[in-house]
């Protein structure tokens, strides 16, 4: 329960809440300006934004709660909001309401009122309402509901001062307004004894608003019953609540939770019909005309494909420039470090470990920025909901959700932003499922591997071979979704009830905000782990340190120049250093590991070299190619890949069949450390561990099946 405030507390804690698409984030930005910090709610990856504003010697601390439709906890967002309001109640709630869609927005508002926390309403988007001919009698509405309201236009910052005035006013006359939602005499007669029974224990009633709990119990809310367990008279109250629900069910001929919601709407409808007037009927809006095309039954899917293609084109064509700059910068930094550090383990650690690691983290940042900028545009304009509408039918068949489509498609680019994008899915189960299958979508870093092997073994049509691998990845992703949905992620399909907001022009400020937030999250979380992983990979490929025995160097040089008569000294030196690097790698921990796992991948037709490359590939999948380069003695330099292709093509242990097997294997086994770190951040260690095991199994089984069946058919 909120503590009674002094006439004017110096600091007030205000929660900003409301339905999604009400302009809540814009209002938060308008209220707090640049003074905010972003964190996470404990245990979940839902962002928690906090910020403050000072005015006339008073500090207003705002916390931006996730946008929700109801306090019945269907989604993670709703759980977070409910727990936040119950467990650390603010002094006041500002409910951000969409003035063009007042009835549904007030539905949530009245549930806040029941919590016993003072609520005021920000009638946001009042300009849009005006344009649509909606006129709201603010005083009348406020009086009828017992909730003071004032109009705002968050995008332009209008009405902010008025809103803060209202905050002051409401806090000053706290507890004087006792108006509240009336469920009708029959239901009120059931609520009253429940309330009394709950209040009988004062320490419990101190903690939980009794009226809210009484209503929730009648609504058969599971969490309400869990909280009730703390009450000494929990059993008798539970029985009382159950009888009340049953009585309502019998009397109204429908479930109590439905009756309660209907009563709320009836009350709201009554208040709105007295205070909201429609002055004129607007002509069909441009939004509706756009939908006529974008959501057209036949055009919606081709348009979606076009949008997707555009995003990839833009991201990768624009992103490759800054990526190259960053790589050049780090090469320069490496050469600088090389000039200052004496040769030895420290030299190697800084250059091959730290700088290579940090460089690979940062080189992804431009892609993330661009991808998230474009994704935010699609989200803020409302296109994502339209895409979900278009693709839901296809994905639903595989146990996925229409909203899974974007994260999945982004997976073709990079799993890291794709996994993060799965946050747009509101149901935890859908989100987990989507994240688990994203790595099967062949990411951009795996392309060099596919290209190398396709060019070596399918010289006539390498593009087709690569396409087949991509398609195989997508098919495995869908099949895996289907299997997971029927096994460990079982349950009724999540209801697909999604608001379709009208098209809106995104604000640059909002876009930059989104992008900035996601980028820092990536750099912070994935960054530290990738760095650690790069150092680890460096360590296992560098130790135990290899130093050629006396005479080994000369013997090798002599052997090589014997085989290549007339080779220049430079060529001999180059061949020698590659050979030594290969021997060093073979004798390192990673090399030993390669030999160790060889028996495991033998049934897939793969040898220890692939074993080593698999391990180093966890740093980044491109590294598979450079590792094979070292092991095949062609060096890891840029020009190496043509000769690597020839070497591999000439190696009798490879065949088109093993090449396809390898491509599939590398595609399906667990992703790079960056993706794993992101997965851990989003879903936690447990799901990461599961995902690693699952992908190892899928990758191995697919490789095994392809190689063995292929061999049996005589393709080996």
């Amino acid at each position: 329960m909120p503590v009674l405030l002094e006439t004017r507390a110096a600091t007030v804690k205000i929660a900003l809440a409301g339905n999604p698409n009400a302009g809540k984030t814009s209002l938060f930005n308008a209220l707090t300006g640049a003074h905010h910090k972003v964190g996470n709610y404990p245990g979940v990856t839902i962002e928690k934004r906090e910020g403050e504003r000072r005015r006339d010697g008073r500090t207003y601390r705002f916390v931006d709660l996730p946008g929700i439709y109801s306090l019945t906890a269907y989604s993670l967002d709703e759980v977070v909001t409910r727990d936040c309001l119950l467990d650390e109640p603010p002094d006041l709630i500002i409910d951000v309401l969409d003035s063009t869609n007042l009835e549904r927005h007030l539905f949530l508002c009245l549930q806040f009122q029941e919590l016993g926390i003072p609520v005021i309403g920000a009638l946001n988007m009042s300009d849009e309402a005006k344009a649509r001919g909606i006129e709201i009698d603010e005083r009348g509405l406020g009086r009828l509901l017992g909730i003071p309201v004032t109009s705002t236009i968050a995008t332009s910052g209008q009405g902010i001062d008025g809103l803060l005035d209202l905050v002051d006013e409401s806090l000053a006359r706290l507890g004087t307004d006792t108006r509240r939602l009336d469920y009708g005499s029959e239901i009120e007669a059931l609520i009253a004894p429940l309330e009394r029974a709950i209040e009988a224990n004062s320490s419990f009633a101190e903690k939980y608003p009794s009226r809210w709990l009484a209503v929730k119990l009648i609504e058969k809310d599971e969490n309400a019953f869990e909280r009730l367990a703390e009450h000494p008279e929990a059993d008798s109250i539970r029985a009382l609540a159950r009888r009340a629900s049953e009585w309502i069910g019998r009397h109204f001929g429908k479930d109590a939770e439905i009756v309660i919601s209907e009563q709320r709407y009836a009350y709201i409808h009554g208040a709105c019909s007295e205070s909201v007037r429609r002055k004129f009927r607007p002509a069909p809006t441009p939004s509706e005309r756009i939908d006529g095309i974008v959501m057209h039954p036949l055009l919606s899917l081709p348009i979606f494909a076009l949008v997707l293609w555009g995003i990839f084109e833009l991201t990768f064509s624009v992103g490759k420039w800054p990526m190259a700059w960053i790589e050049t910068f780090f090469r320069w930094l490496s050469s600088l470090a090389a000039a200052f550090l004496p040769a030895g383990p420290l030299h190697s650690l800084v250059i091959d470990g730290v700088l290579a690691g940090v460089g690979s983290v940062l080189s992804f940042v431009p892609l993330i920025i661009i991808l998230f900028f474009l994704l935010s545009v699609l989200e803020d304009t409302g296109y994502l909901s339209r895409a979900a509408f278009a693709t839901d039918r296809l994905l639903h068949g595989f146990g996925l959700h229409g909203q899974s489509i974007f994260p999945l498609m982004l997976g073709f680019g990079c799993s890291v932003p794709a996994i993060m994008a799965a946050r747009t899915l509101k149901s935890p189960r859908d989100r987990i499922l989507t994240v688990l299958v994203i790595p099967f979508m062949s990411c951009g870093a795996k392309l060099p591997v596919h290209v190398l092997f396709a060019a070596a073994f399918f010289p006539k049509n390498p593009a087709l071979a690569v396409m087949v691998v991509y398609a195989a990845g997508a098919i495995v992703a869908l099949a895996a979704a289907l299997v997971l949905r029927r096994t460990i992620l079982k349950g009724e399909p999540t209801p697909f009830v999604m608001e379709l907001p009208p098209w809106r022009a995104p604000t640059l400020r909002g876009l930059l905000w989104h992008v900035g937030e996601k980028t820092t999250t990536y750099a912070k979380k994935a960054g530290t782990v990738i760095l650690a992983a790069s150092i680890l990979i460096w360590a296992i490929t560098s130790f135990p340190a290899y130093s050629p025995k006396a005479g080994e160097r000369e013997a090798l040089a002599a052997a090589w120049s014997g085989a290549h008569p007339g080779a220049s000294q430079a060529a001999i030196d180059a061949a020698l250093s590659t050979e030594l690097a290969a021997r060093g790698l073979s004798g390192s921990i990673a090399g030993s590991f390669g030999h160790l796992v060889e028996p495991l991948i033998r049934p897939l037709g793969l040898d220890w070299k692939v074993g080593v490359a698999t391990v180093t590939g966890f740093a980044a999948k491109e590294v598979v190619v450079s590792t094979l380069g070292i092991l095949y003695g062609v060096g890891s330099d840029q020009g190496g890949s043509a000769s690597l292709r020839e070497r591999i093509a000439a190696d009798p242990s490879w065949s088109p069949l093993t090449a396809i097997t390898l491509m599939l294997f590398i595609l399906l086994i667990p992703p790079c450390f960056a993706a794993m770190a992101t997965m851990r951040a989003e879903l936690g260690w447990g799901w990461l561990a599961f995902s690693i095991g699952f992908q190892l199994a899928v990758g191995w089984l697919a490789g095994f099946a392809v190689f063995q069946i292929g061999s049996a058919l005589g393709f080996a």
């Binding site: 019945t72 479930d255 919601s261 959501m295 036949l298 919606s300 399909p493 209801p495 009830v497 379709l500």
Partner: protein
Amino acid sequence: MNISDLPVGAAFTVRKVRSGREVGKRLVDMGFTEGASGRLLRKAFLSGPLQVEIRGYDVIIRRSEAAMIEVAEDDQGAGDARTA
């Protein structure tokens, strides 16, 4: 009848949401209450989801959810839900 039985463009009045625990409650919370008027705006291809207007805003629901909502079709011209 339920919403997916209606022709595109038809206005309707909600008669009852058949209980379906989570789904039913969610639909009611989103505004599909007895007596509420709405309109079927669009059907996605191959039995995909429906775009429905209810209480003056648009919502997308699957046909399986639409099947939970019993409606009566309003008479032609009885009121354009878009502007009601």
